[in-house]
Symmetry: C2
Subunit: 119 residues, 2 copies
Amino acid sequence: MKKINLKEKFSKFTDQWSPKVIEEMNDYQFKLVKIKDDFTWHKHDETDEAFFVIEGNIGIEFEDETIELNEGEMIVVPKGTKHKPYARKEAKIMLFEPKETNNTGDIINELTAENDQWI
Amino acid sequence: MKKINLKEKFSKFTDQWSPKVIEEMNDYQFKLVKIKDDFTWHKHDETDEAFFVIEGNIGIEFEDETIELNEGEMIVVPKGTKHKPYARKEAKIMLFEPKETNNTGDIINELTAENDQWI
């Protein structure tokens, strides 16, 4: 058991849209990811997904609205909900989701990242 | 679906050691809690428990060590592990744990809070 400093973990990687696992809890994982520009539209049919903005600003497009989030804000995207995250400048976010959750959900493309990358 | 601002949610209550639910994800809940002085020794036999320090500094005593956490740091306490959180000055923390998790775990005393208090 050891504590985790989020800033220190963010300093360990530079690639974008490629979630890094920092800790597990039961069957879930906390992941850090740096994002910039547009992700791909996707959904997770099996699970909700939590987003926390640690640094910067992001937006998440949904089919009927766009929600912008600033540092210190979070949102839970319900399972089955199509969404497309984006960031105009690089932003640092934390995700919380079950182990084995694929970053691009039901879509496989060039943005699909390797799972279970620990830092 | 709506975003949640942690600071705004912390402004909605003043009591200590009484977790407030801000969001759910699958069968889990995100909870905010203000803490000061010492909590009670307890454990959660059924689940791990995640602590995030949002503002201030806290410590968690374990049977064989004490871990201090500052703003921007987190820890996951494994299920079955006896622990006693404390804060010398009031600190603001976020917990993540399954719904129905009792704040004092296997102990019932004057610090046991009502569950499922939403703000």
